[in-house]
């Protein structure tokens, strides 16, 4: 599903990622662990084509994203879901409209959109708030909406950047359980986190980065 070969990325000549080689299989659940500045977000940005590597090659679903044309990026992103620490929801649109956005972009019919959004909202347990505005929801609820938006079009892989940042342990645990449920349906999940507690709770493969380098890779195949 994801293969990195000797990937390096520099910002102002300083390495954010150095000679990274990594392989993630289809259906895996991987936690990218490391302190702030370790290169976790950079790695995710490379995977969803927000950045290009300066060295090395990256294959995502068989496509070399290091050389992908800009015009081909939207099509690739439609096969992925994204979850962010700051949710990135549209505050002036309802929960339903926020979750429906990826389907709208893909030109899915109104009937299918209603059905898929209802399913996604139900899967994250927030279907009763579909008419609400995101600003009226708690942080945990907003993150659930964000996850619903990420899974609504049935993505092959789901990338999350610090999805439980600023959340109390109980709420973080609930969100991680959601990711495990999504992974159990066959979606590859890659989560960047610096929260050791979350890592222990999930008990899956942990890839640790330190100063842009691969420090350890534990529990592959779990």
């Amino acid at each position: 599903m994801i293969q990195l070969f000797h990937v390096s990325k520099y910002y102002d000549r300083r390495p954010a990622l150095s000679d990274m080689t990594l392989q993630i299989e289809k259906g895996e659940f991987v936690l990218l662990m490391g302190p702030s500045g370790a290169g976790k977000t950079t790695l995710l940005k490379l995977l969803f084509c927000a950045e290009r590597p300066d060295e090395g090659q990256i294959l995502v679903q068989g496509r070399n994203v290091a050389r992908i044309k800009t015009s081909q990026v939207p099509a690739l992103r439609r096969t992925m879901g994204f979850v962010f620490q700051d949710f990135k929801l549209l505050p002036k649109k309802s929960v339903f409209d926020n979750v429906a956005l990826p389907l709208l972009v893909q030109g899915v019919s109104s009937f299918d959109t209603r059905r898929k959004v209802a399913e996604a909202l139900k899967a994250v347990g927030i279907d009763h708030k579909k008419e609400s505005r995101p600003t009226m929801l708690s942080a945990g609820e907003q993150q659930r909406v964000c996850i619903a938006r990420a899974i609504v079009n049935g993505p092959l892989m789901l990338l999350a950047d610090e999805p439980t940042g600023n959340m109390d342990p109980e709420l973080a645990g609930e969100i991680m359980e959601l990711f495990k449920t999504i992974n159990a349906r066959g979606t590859t999940v890659v989560i960047a986190t610096h929260n050791r507690q979350v890592v222990e709770q999930v008990n899956r493969r942990v890839v640790t980065l330190v100063q842009g380098k691969l420090a350890s890779d534990e529990g592959a195949g779990r």
Binding site: A50, T70, L76, R77, R78
Partner: protein
């Protein structure tokens, strides 16, 4: 269809959310297009006037005073037979004097001391359209001057030709002013759209992340620019119409005396439509300029 509805809704939402900048953009676009419209109005009216004056061109053939009645008739037949002549009217000395009194009643006393009527008899000749060009009229007049019984030949071609030259310059000025003001309109709308894009940068980022194409993201802004341009042009037309009516009103009696009051015309429907279309295109271009390079950004 659902996507088209979404894009239209987004464009209208942009306009509604940025009311102040929208109003400023529409007002400034309207003002610049109105300035161009004044030039266009002036140009079209003067061109129309020259056209009608050229259609109305008359050659006046003054006759020698000693020409007998038979001589006048013979000359009339001779001139009428010319291929260049469409129609011909004879104006006797007495009729010329009567016309002078009618047209200039206050100056009638000027001729009283002269005793004998000094005004010559004349033929007022209308030429066939294909012989109304400057060269053709001149050639025919020169030939006619050598015909016995003809004292002088006059026509108003020269000043009409001069007016045509002035209109040529006006046309150039209109193109230059139009180009500058069009660029100004494009810049104004481009800046407005830039502000909208900046205000909605978070939303744009989200759209990119969920796989929206550059065209899908840009379309509402292109529509917004087009609507602003068209609204600006519509407002410019209203301003011009108001200004035009005021001008005609102010022209009043002076204009009627000079006979130019009825000569001025506002833009016909198709020109008005073209102006709105031009506003729309300028607005689209403004948006396009502001979004230039937009699609190359990856996140």
């Amino acid at each position: 269809m659902r996507r088209l509805g979404y894009l239209l809704r987004e464009a209208l939402t942009n306009i509604r959310l940025n009311r102040t900048t929208t109003l400023v953009a529409v007002a400034t676009t309207a003002f610049t297009l109105a300035c161009f419209g004044v030039f266009l109005l002036l140009y079209l009216n003067l061109r129309g006037m020259v056209g009608s004056l050229q259609d109305d061109i008359k050659v006046i053939v003054y006759l020698q005073d000693n020409l007998t009645a038979q001589g006048v008739t013979a000359l009339q037949h001779q001139i009428k037979a010319e291929p260049e002549v469409l129609s011909l009217t004879y104006l006797s000395k007495a009729q010329a004097l009567a016309d002078f009194h009618a047209q200039f009643p206050d100056e009638s006393h000027l001729l009283e001391g002269l005793g004998e009527n000094p005004l010559p008899a004349s033929f007022v000749v209308t030429l066939v359209p294909k012989f109304r060009s400057s060269d053709a009229v001149q050639r025919w007049s020169d030939r006619l001057r050598s015909v016995p019984g003809v004292a002088q030949v006059q026509y108003s071609r020269e000043w009409i030709e001069n007016l045509a030259v002035v209109i040529g310059y006006l046309e150039l000025a209109a193109v230059a002013v139009g180009t500058v003001l069009s660029a100004a309109s494009v810049t104004i709308i481009a800046n407005t759209i830039r502000l909208t894009v900046y205000a909605r940068r978070d939303e744009i980022e989200i759209m990119r992340l969920i796989g929206a194409t550059g065209a899908f993201i840009k379309t509402p802004y292109l529509l917004e620019g087009s609507v602003l341009g068209a609204l600006g042009a519509g407002l410019a037309l209203l301003l011009l119409k108001g200004g035009f009516e005021l001008f005609i009103d102010q022209l009043g009696p002076t204009g009627r005396f000079l006979g130019i009051e009825t000569g001025f015309r506002f833009f016909p429907a198709h020109i008005s439509f073209l102006m709105v279309l031009a506003g729309l295109v300028l607005g689209f271009l403004g948006s396009f300029v502001s979004l230039f390079g937009f699609g190359k950004v990856r996140s």
